[in-house]
């Protein structure tokens, strides 16, 4: 094959990381959480309930390989052999197809638990905007779910919707947020966040002379309103935290937070690993209860 590769604007940065302060050799239990989402997959390796390493990458064509690749990517950052792990929990959209998992646990449970870890025990409401669903979760100080509502009927307002849109406008997914604020005046939201309609609506607006920034602003606003309608239905108890890739999109987040009327919590961790963190923590809890793998 020759020629120039087509630029894909939706692509976000894949990354892996290892915690330099942890030596896996000292750990009693190494547990792994693997979150195979519809758009991205993460593997988090924990040493006695602390994050030792992780890998985050795009989901490939099938769940088993995406899980293997994400774990291999996390291991790459370490000097630990893969067979050292004591227990593995799969979560996410592809959770039942994670070949190395000892069991699977829903994203709802894992995101609450993961948010409790990366944001701290004050978090009571978790919003996760995944590749193709929106989840609103309330949890207690231990990260146990007390109330949840999930909308996965269509891709409207989700990560996948945003990718399609970024690609359509030829704007890199990492720049969507900043570019959407490069407007003289905030436009009204586009009428629909439905992926199919938004496409034709955006094309129409561009033809009428709207700048790409203005179209982005209108779309980010629509996404924020869509997400808000779901969060509002469940109710928000502070503190409020956002997990998943959409937490990094300031175009949507800075339009969403005034609607909610709260500040969102901050974290130094990558918000995309929350689900896998929760999964690895469940694995750790099971090992501690003596319900880990038989040795």
């Amino acid at each position: 094959m020759g020629g120039e590769e087509k630029r894909e604007f939706w692509r976000w940065t894949e990354s892996n990381w290892r915690n330099p302060d942890i030596d896996w050799k000292n750990a009693r239990y190494i547990t792994v959480g693997i979150d195979v989402g519809s758009v991205s997959s993460q593997a988090v390796i924990m040493a006695d309930g602390q994050i030792f390493a992780y890998g985050s990458m795009r989901t490939g064509s099938d769940s088993p390989n995406s899980a293997r690749n994400a774990l291999a990517f996390a291991l790459e950052a370490t000097d630990m052999p893969g067979d050292r792990m004591d227990y593995c929990v799969g979560t996410g959209y592809g959770r039942v197809n994670v070949p190395m998992a000892d069991r699977s646990i829903t994203e709802i449970a894992c995101h609450a638990r993961g948010a409790n870890f990366i944001y701290g025990p004050q978090v009571r409401t978790v919003l996760d905007v995944g590749g193709q669903d929106i989840k609103a979760i309330q949890c207690d100080e231990k990260g146990k779910v007390t109330n949840f509502l999930m909308n996965d009927k269509c891709a409207a307002g989700t990560g996948r919707g945003m990718e399609v849109f970024a690609d359509l406008l030829g704007v890199s997914i990492n720049e969507v947020g900043d570019r959407s604020f490069q407007v003289d005046e905030e436009p009204e939201a586009v009428a629909s966040t439905c992926v199919v309609y938004a496409k034709s609506e955006a094309t129409g607006l561009l033809r009428r002379g709207w700048s790409r920034e203005r179209v982005l602003a209108a779309y980010c606003r629509a996404m924020a309103e869509r997400i808000y309608s779901i969060v509002r239905r469940m109710g928000v108890i502070p503190e409020f935290a956002v997990t998943g890739g959409m937490a990094k999109n300031r175009g949507v987040m800075e339009r969403l937070m005034p609607l909610i009327g709260l500040k969102r919590m901050e974290t130094e961790w990558d918000t995309q690993i929350a689900g896998a963190v929760g999964a690895a923590l469940f694995g750790y809890a099971l090992c501690q209860k003596g319900k880990g793998r038989e040795k």
Binding site: A109, V145, L149, D152, R233
Partner: protein
């Protein structure tokens, strides 16, 4: 836990909520519902450390719940819903 299954769209919100703290997994709702909306599982997948049976809305019904429940919800006059009536624990509620 209040577990809400369903969706919201332009026409409204359609969620069935099960209070898992009240539900004991008796399964009465499963047999009462003509549309087979409910299933009882041995362990709540959203609360994996609890290990008690609990009712859920079947995965295949969540995205079309408005239509599944249509026959139980005539446009005028609302009879008691079979699922709500069957649940002695009063664990089931509907948002619409």
């Amino acid at each position: 836990m209040l577990a809400s299954y369903g969706y919201g769209d332009g026409s409204g919100d359609y969620f069935i909520t099960i209070d898992t703290d009240k539900c004991d997994g008796c399964g009465e709702c499963v047999s009462a519902c003509p549309a087979h909306v409910f299933v009882v599982v041995d362990e709540d997948p959203n609360d994996p450390l609890r290990e008690e049976p609990v009712a859920m809305v079947a995965a295949g019904k969540r995205k079309k719940i408005k239509y599944e429940c249509g026959p139980c919800k005539p446009a005028s006059g609302r009879p008691t819903l079979p699922c709500v009536e069957a649940c002695k624990a009063e664990a089931i509620s509907h948002s619409w």
